[in-house]
């Protein structure tokens, strides 16, 4: 047997290109369904565990999937906005704890998540380095944000303009990094968390500027009457919140009018959750209250429908490839007639020929198996990140 393997090995080594092609074909055929299965299982785990741990999500009527993807996975697609009134009405119901979310802006490609400290307790997120949010203008970053941007506690992060063409838009806010979160292997690792009020500062709804009644540069005042002062755009608006200027930051209008993208509702118990769902069922209140698990189940059902289709395609391609491989071997036997004849002439039996060919196939399958195993280990190792990059975003 050893001599057959030796001769087969020598033959395969001599025909490197052909061997590499055969190994690649077998490896790909084996790896595709396995890797797909692994990634789908991981995406299901990630999507479902996040959805299962979020009992209810309140948002504007519209696409429930957009609402869930933005509220749970901080997806780029911002659903229609609601206001803080939604939080107040949930609070007033006494049935659930509301956690506001405002996921709209970005800082160096990472989503800025405006929320309250309740979010960190709800998701059991702990601080690995630094401290929790304390003052307006601070942020706490996910472990992956810290790693990819190479920033840490004490550094700062600029909010990005919503569009590059928004020349008359608000100034970017320079946020101080107060803490870095412990890695949680969830989308929270890839987020920049700020207090909900800081998110409104990023939008320009809460702002700080020099006293218009006593400006340093009098030319910023266009018009002044006893009751009104009109300043031009040169009025100094603060782009960083410091202990010196924090007192100048102020809100305008009713707090209930401030925007949100969603509200996580954590019912006191199952009964409270059911009552709450009943209240928002007709949509008259201008909101939709969704169960993220149901929405994600629907999404997964679609994904698995696609997966079944992919399985069928892979099966057909696999069969075709196997047939092609058989053809390659059959043709190679024909091409190697003289070589086989020589084996006969030096006293080799038919069985010896079969053993030689079997040894060649075994070596190819073995190499493919090893490569396949290495690739699967690699996919498994990075499945978390791969799923977030490929499927969740």
């Amino acid at each position: 047997m050893i001599d057959s393997l030796y001769i087969a090995w020598k033959y395969l080594s001599f025909n490197r290109a052909r061997t590499a092609t055969l190994v690649a074909c077998v490896t790909l055929i084996a790896i595709l369904p396995l890797a797909l299965q692994l990634l789908l299982a991981e995406s299901e785990r990630q999507l479902l565990s996040r959805a299962e741990s979020t009992p209810l999500l309140l948002g504007a009527p519209g696409s429930a999937l957009d609402l869930v993807m933005n509220g749970l996975y901080f997806d780029d697609e911002v659903p229609q906005l609601i206001s803080m009134m939604a939080v107040e009405s949930l609070e007033a119901s006494g049935l659930a704890m509301p956690i506001p979310l405002y996921v709209r802006f970005k800082a160096r490609r990472f989503p800025i998540v405006g929320t309250t400290l309740d979010y960190f307790d709800f998701r059991a997120l702990t601080i690995a380095e630094g401290r929790q949010l304390a003052q307006l203008g601070e942020c706490v970053i996910g472990a992956e944000v810290a790693a990819r941007l190479g920033i840490t506690v004490g550094d700062s992060l600029l909010s990005s303009p919503e569009t590059v063409f928004d020349l008359a838009g608000v100034y970017p806010l320079k946020m101080q990094v107060a803490g870095v979160l412990q890695r949680s292997h969830t989308p929270d690792d890839l987020a920049v968390f700020v207090d909900i009020k800081t998110a409104w500062v990023v939008q320009g709804l809460v702002h700080g500027h020099e006293d218009v009644t006593r400006p340093q540069d009098a030319s910023v005042i266009i018009e002044r009457t006893d009751a009104n002062v009109v300043a031009n755009a040169r009025l100094v608006e603060y782009t960083e919140i410091t202990t010196e200027n924090i007192d100048s930051f102020h809100f305008h209008g009713a707090p209930g009018d401030y925007p949100l993208s969603a509200v996580i509702a954590v019912p006191d118990d199952a009964k409270a959750g059911t009552i709450l769902r009943g209240r928002y069922l007709d949509g008259d209140a201008g909101y939709q209250l969704v169960v993220p698990e149901t929405v994600i189940d629907g999404l997964l059902a679609n994904i698995f429908r696609i997966k079944h289709m992919l399985d069928a395609v892979i099966l057909v391609v696999g069969v075709a490839t196997v047939l092609a491989l058989i053809l390659v071997f059959a043709l190679s036997i024909r091409l190697r007639q003289r070589e086989i004849h020589t084996v006969f002439r030096i006293g080799g039996s038919r069985l010896t020929i079969v053993r030689l060919l079997a040894a060649e196939i075994a070596i190819i399958v073995l190499f493919s198996g090893l490569l396949c195993m290495a690739a699967i280990v690699l996919v498994h190792q990075y499945s978390n990140e791969l799923v977030r990059t490929l499927f969740i975003g």
């Binding site: 304390a134 008359a168 218009v212 300043a231 755009a233 608006e237 924090i246 209008g253």
Partner: protein, 298 residues
């Protein structure tokens, strides 16, 4: 060692452990002003440790906590807010929303909105002003009762087993506050049209509840008013010839003397926003009422 000795040691250790556990179970309540601290202490008794981290002699309404103090607020079980725009620092820090209790939220529709701020506009925003809301709500003792009820409600939600104790203590506090309310009404009814001045605009709710004919200036008790302030007072007196000035703190003797020379007496009605040097909320209010009575009887 004898068995009896061992039993005694074990029993003592168990009792010690139980008392330690009970001590550890005390609720941690943080407040933004003294009236709320007083209400919470009266209602919770030994069930809670109530903290007002504002240093003495600083007005809690305009205080700004440092990061360490904010962290202490974040760790509390309950954070009692006055609402009505009191303690603006609350809007500039991160606090867990589920722990916040706005004690005046129940009478938001009865807030008094202050006017007179200059409106301004800049950038693409329209006209806006920084006008605010009067916040010394507790000087209307009926509103103070509502705030005390909100405190009791928050304590009961956090510690349902002790609800009866909280309710009992609340009833006693309500009686004390309503007694203050009755006393002020009895004083004011003797001369409903009596003209008064206030050194600072902090008596809006007090004025509304008890129907006082009171106009405010913007003086600080410890500082002698400047020429412009005296002129403004003279103009105000033309329309509102009051005989008494109500001060929020002990006034400077020179101010008292000059007012006396103008025929205006001085009395202190301390809003008691921070811990008093002596006594408690009730004793300070009793003293305030005694001072007010002096104005109405003279």
């Amino acid at each position: 060692m004898r068995p009896r000795g061992i039993i005694r040691i074990v029993t003592t250790a168990l009792l010690f452990a139980v008392s330690l556990a009970e001590a550890g179970e005390r609720l941690s309540v943080y407040t933004v002003n003294y009236p709320l601290q007083y209400f919470a202490q009266r209602i919770a008794g030994e069930q809670a440790e109530v903290t007002l981290p504002v240093p003495p002699a600083i007005d809690p309404a305009f205080w700004q906590p440092d990061v360490a103090t904010i962290a202490n607020f974040q760790q509390a079980d309950i954070i009692l807010l006055n609402g009505a725009g009191y303690a603006k620092w609350v809007n500039r820090v991160s606090l867990p929303r589920r722990k916040l209790v706005d004690t005046s939220a129940g009478f938001r529709d009865r807030y008094i909105h202050t006017e007179g701020d200059i409106t301004h506009s800049h950038g693409r925003e329209g006209d806006h002003s920084h006008a605010g809301t009067a916040f010394t709500t507790w000087l209307d003792f009926t509103l103070a009762v509502e705030q005390a009820r909100a405190v009791a409600g928050a304590l009961s939600r956090q510690r349902p087993d002790s609800k009866d104790i909280f309710e009992r203590n609340l009833t006693a506090l309500e009686q004390d506050l309503l007694d203050l309310d009755r006393q002020v009404q009895e004083i004011v009814v003797t001369n409903p049209g009596k003209l008064l001045l206030a050194s600072h605009p902090v008596y809006q709710y007090f004025r509304r509840r008890y129907g006082l004919n009171l106009q405010s200036v913007m003086w600080e008790p410890e500082a002698m008013p400047d020429v412009a302030q005296w002129s403004a007072l003279a103009r105000l007196l033309m329309e509102h010839p009051a005989g008494w000035m109500v001060w929020e703190g002990k006034p400077a003797p020179e101010s008292v003397a000059r007012l006396r020379s103008m025929g205006i007496g001085s009395l202190v009605f301390d809003p008691c926003g921070n811990r008093p040097g002596a006594g408690d909320f009730l004793s300070v209010m009793q003293k305030n009422i005694a001072n007010l009575r002096r104005a109405y009887t003279n």
